[in-house]
Symmetry: C2
Subunit: 299 residues, 2 copies
């Protein structure tokens, strides 16, 4: 059990390192650094995969005698992830990291000039690699199932279709019957960028963000990166025509708060991050919409 | 030879990753992220050490048949580094990384309040660990020799004493006889920080820095970090009383230019960084002093 936990701590660290590299790429990295960054991401990804799928891990899992509920959960989640990771070749993991970084740099430039043709081959390459990943699980009913399962463990494409279908059937009449809300003031700019920054700082401080444990930066596509529960990084983007920057920041704050509040006892285990994309989005959208669009919040 | 080169590329990548983490700690990381960052640095350091000192590397080195001068140099430098690294336990490498990160955070705060007492125990801990490192080489004539050798391969404490002694003997009369130079205008502030930033940007652009491959940030103690030859990061610090920010930036530019210009054929080998601290400082001080303090440069 101790050997297993030690190895899992190492894997958790390497995943945080990958997260820091991803954050840096979006927020800090000079554009020409992309090719080398692809290699760094590929190396760390391949190494983490190799260390995790190592046969020792299988033996430790076999012999593991959990001493409490936390350790039992660690073993359960690790078995699930281990069985899945063992099916995927390390070189594919490395190539996915490399291709992801390459596509991101091209996307950033293509986005500015609205040039889809420049991005298309990189997108194709990434889809092809994802298909190869999916093909490692030939028993899957639908090729998207193995991918979906990484984000929402245990959920299938058929489950999602069913859930979204039922939501649509319930929501469409609800939305049609809802009174129209006038939120045009949010798009009645120009709102100077400096003013937006000051607004976001004020709002984020009011809901618990401090400089000792959080950052707010700009990114072309806002995201949140948890480097540690005590090192949480939000991003947003500014457009003087509207106040979307505030809603992006609140959304990312929801992601960040979720991870910031994870029990420190789970640190450096596979339980130390969000449980799934669904849980994550429930937290981000709670802050963006339920809190951020409420009258009480604005008052 | 191919297996050896592949492993060395992995080690080179992990060293770049460590450099990125160090840069981030100085420039971006929220203060509370330090403890977790220590673990990340320790994990990457330990892993790089373990992968490098692996017995396979010894076997590959034994059997290596270099196909050209570059490969011969790689083998020579790797043998030197391998023999040294094999003597050091991985746990000490990890603890050095951890203790270095911890000390840095305390130093940053202690520096602001000029509180040496707060920093002293962290300094002591780092010196103790460095002594343990040195003790891995009991044959050394002087305990500093194994440390010095990491920065200036092949040089001993006795060599440095001799070189610096001869330099002192030659320089002291030279300085005494030199005409006094009035550079008080460099300290005749206040020089507004925004103006200093604009000056540095103008000067750095004029000598070849572009945003596609370089960054300039602020740090409490200026340094340079090469994440890749195409991703070079300078730092400086601003004081409105003087123009030292310019000389820091020129100094760090010298370090950065040295690594920026390394032959791409050496990338991801142990030859892909600066050859030694002495070579590095020769480049940084060339730009800071020989160029930066010349009349031609100012004109």
């Amino acid at each position: 059990m101790d050997e297993l936990l030690e190895r899992l701590a190492e894997i958790a660290d390497l995943e945080r390192v990958a997260m820091l590299m991803a954050w840096d790429q979006e927020v800090c990295m000079p554009l020409a650094g992309g090719e080398a960054r692809g290699e760094l991401r590929a190396t760390v990804g391949r190494l983490a995969h190799e260390r995790f799928t190592d046969e020792h891990v299988g033996e430790w899992l076999e012999a593991a005698a959990p001493r409490d509920e936390l350790e039992a959960d660690v073993v359960r989640v690790t078995r699930r992830d281990f069985d899945k990771a063992r099916r995927v070749p390390g070189e594919l993991v490395a190539e996915l990291a490399r291709a992801g970084v390459a596509a991101r740099g091209v996307w950033l430039q293509a986005r500015e000039t609205n040039d889809f043709a420049a991005f298309a081959p990189y997108l194709e390459r990434n889809i092809e690699l994802r298909r190869r990943y999916s093909a490692c699980f030939p028993e899957a009913e639908h090729p998207y199932d193995p991918l979906l399962d990484d984000y929402e463990p245990g959920m299938s494409t058929a489950d999602v279709r069913d859930a979204l279908g039922r939501l649509r059937d319930g929501l469409v009449p609800l939305v049609a019957a809802a009174p129209e809300v006038d939120d045009s003031l949010l798009r009645r700019g120009p709102f100077a960028e400096a003013g937006q920054r000051a607004l976001l700082t004020t709002v984020l401080r009011a809901i618990g963000v401090d400089d000792d444990q959080w950052r707010l930066d700009e990114a072309a596509h806002p995201f949140e990166a948890t480097i540690a529960p005590t090192d949480v990084r939000l991003t947003t983007r500014y457009d003087e025509a509207d106040l979307d920057s505030l809603y992006s920041a609140l959304h990312e704050f929801g992601h960040g708060l979720y991870e910031h509040q994870i029990d420190p006892a789970l640190a450096r285990t596979p339980l130390g991050g969000g449980a799934s994309s669904g849980w994550h989005e429930s937290q981000s959208r709670l802050w963006e919409n339920m809190v951020g669009r409420s009258a009480g919040f604005w008052r």
